[in-house]
Amino acid sequence: MSNFEQFHFDFYQSNYTIDDQEEGCNSYGSDKNLCESRKSQTEKQPAAGAFVPSDMLLSPQSYTGQILQPACSPGTLSQFGYADGFDEEPPLLEELGINFEHIWQKTLTVLNPMKPADGSIMNETDLTGPMVFCLALGATLLMAGKVHFGYVYGMSAIGCLAMHALLNLMSASGVSHGCVASVLGYCLLPMVILSSSAVLFSLQGIPGTVLALFIIGWCSLSASKIFTSALAMEGQQLLIAYPCALLYGLFALLTVF
C-alpha cells in the first residue's frame, strides 16, 4: 500500500492528483485513514493548488529523462505508469466508487426497519445498489409475464423528483437529488420480494392485497426512517412515510395488476 501511495505522489504531479484523492475521500468513508494520509501528502506539495500549465512544466522535467533512458532502475520502473503499473492501479470497483461492503450495510439497514439507522450512511451518493434493485424488479416482473421496465424507471424518476421537492420544502437542511434517489432505490428491495412472489401465485385476491399492503408499509417505514435520521426530522417520520407509501403503492399496483 505504501508503494501505491508513493506511486501516486511521484507520477501525478498535477491537479489531477488532488481531485482524485478528494473523490476517493468522499466515496468511501471507511478508508478515512488512507484519505487522511493522502491529504497530508498533498499538503506537503508546494504547488498543490497551482494551475495545470505550471505543473505540466514540472512533470516533464521529472520523468521525461527517465522515459528517454531505456535501462531503468527498478525503483523508477513503477513511475512509467500504465505500461507496467497494471498491478499498481486502483481496482476497477474502487475507481468506479462501488463499495460492496457499504452496499451490503445499506441493504441490511433497509431489510430491518426496526433497527435505528445511522444518519451518516447516506452521506455518500451510491446509485449502484438502486440500479441493481430496479433491474431486479424489472426482471422479476418479466418473469411474471409483464414487460414494465419503462414504467419502473419512469415512476422512479418522477417519484425521486417529487420526493426531492417535498423533502427540500419540509427539512431545514436541503437534500440532493442523488441522496433521495439512493434512499428510494434501496428501499425498493422489499418490492422485489413482492414481485418475485407474484411469479409463484396471483396477487389479485385477499392474501395478495394483504401482502402488498405489508410490503408497502415495510418499504415506506425503511425509507422514512433513513430520511428522518439523515435530515434530523424526528417528529415528522409519519409525514414523510405517507408520500413514500403512495409512491411504493404505485409500484405495488404495477406488480399486482
Binding site: 421537492a165 417535498l166 427540500n168 420544502l169 419540509m170 417528529g235 415528522q236 409519519l238 409525514l239 405517507y242 408520500p243 403512495l246 403503492g249 404505485l250 399496483l253 395488476f257
Partner: protein, 267 residues
C-alpha cells in the same frame, strides 16, 4: 455591394450583426434567469409545509365537522401539505379503482388521466372560487382557498375508497349525501362566515356546493364502469328472468339460403 462592404470595411456588417445578436442573447438570458430565480423559487412555499402529524390529523377530522359560527370569520389553516397529500391519495384511489374495474382509457394513460382530473379539480376549482370570492368581496386568500378545498377532498377519498370496493349503488348515494354533504357544509360555513351580503353568500356557497358534490358523482360514475354491469346482474328478484328466444328472421334466412345455394352451384 455584394461582399458585405459597409462604411468601406468588408465583413463589418456580418461582424456587427453577430455582435448585436450575441448581446441580445446575453441580455435575454440574464433577464430570463433573474425571472426564473424570482418566480420558481421553491422556498416561497416552505412555510406552508411546516406541520406536525398531530396537526394534520386534527385538521383532517375537523374537515368533516361543520362549525356553525357565521358571524365571525372562521379560522382556515393556510397549509399545503395536507391538501397535497389528499390530492395524491385521491389519484391513488382513482388508479386503484380503474385497475380493479379494467377501465380502458383510449386517448391517454390511466396515470395521466387520474393526475389530470384530481389536480385539475383542486387547482382549477380553487382558482375559480378565488375569482368568485374576489367578485363577491369575501375575505379569503388563494392559499386558504387551496387549503380549504384540499381538505374537503378528504370526504371524497373516504367515499370513493369504500364504494370502489363495496359495490352497492344505494351505499354510494348514502355516502355521497352524508360524507360529501358534511364536508361541503363545513366549507360553506367557512365561506359564509367570511362573506357579507346575502346574494354574495348565495353565489359563492351555491357554486362551491354544486361543484364539490358533482365532482364526487362524476368520479364515481366515470371511473368505475364495471359497477353498472355487475349491479344489473345482482338485482335478481326485481327483474324478469332472462329468457332465451329463438332468433327467427325468415326473410333474411331465406335470402342467405338462396345466395349460398347459388354460390355452391357455381363452383
Amino acid at each position: 455591394e455584394e461582399d458585405g462592404e459597409f462604411l468601406g470595411m468588408k465583413g463589418l456588417r456580418g461582424q456587427l450583426g453577430r455582435q448585436v445578436a450575441d448581446q441580445m442573447w446575453q441580455v435575454g438570458k440574464r433577464q430570463a434567469s433573474r425571472a426564473f430565480s424570482l418566480y420558481a423559487n421553491i422556498d416561497i412555499l416552505r412555510p406552508y409545509f411546516d406541520v406536525e402529524p398531530v396537526q394534520v390529523r386534527a385538521r383532517l377530522l375537523e374537515s368533516m365537522i361543520p362549525v356553525k359560527m357565521i358571524n365571525f370569520p372562521q379560522k382556515i389553516a393556510g397549509e399545503l401539505y395536507g391538501p397535497l397529500m389528499l390530492v395524491f391519495t385521491l389519484v391513488a384511489i382513482l388508479l386503484h379503482g380503474m385497475k380493479t374495474s379494467d377501465t380502458i382509457i383510449r386517448e391517454g394513460t390511466l396515470m395521466g388521466t387520474a393526475i389530470g382530473t384530481c389536480f385539475g379539480y383542486w387547482l382549477g376549482v380553487s382558482s375559480f372560487m378565488y375569482f368568485l370570492a374576489y367578485l363577491c368581496n369575501a375575505q379569503i386568500t388563494m392559499v386558504q382557498m387551496l387549503s380549504l378545498l384540499g381538505y374537503g377532498l378528504f370526504g371524497h377519498c373516504i367515499t370513493l375508497f369504500v364504494t370502489y370496493n363495496i359495490h352497492f349503488h344505494s351505499l354510494f348515494y348514502i355516502f355521497w349525501l352524508v360524507v360529501g354533504g358534511l364536508s361541503t357544509l363545513r366549507m360553506v360555513a367557512v365561506l359564509v362566515s367570511r362573506t357579507v351580503g346575502h346574494t354574495q353568500r348565495l353565489i359563492l356557497c351555491g357554486t362551491l356546493a354544486a361543484l364539490h358534490m358533482l365532482f364526487l358523482l362524476y368520479l364515481h360514475f366515470a371511473y368505475h364502469k364495471v359497477v353498472e354491469g355487475i349491479l344489473d346482474t345482482l338485482e335478481g328478484p326485481n327483474m324478469p328472468p332472462f329468457q332465451r328466444v329463438a332468433r327467427d328472421i325468415p326473410v333474411v334466412s331465406n335470402a342467405v339460403l338462396n345466395t349460398t345455394a347459388k354460390a355452391i352451384a357455381l363452383t
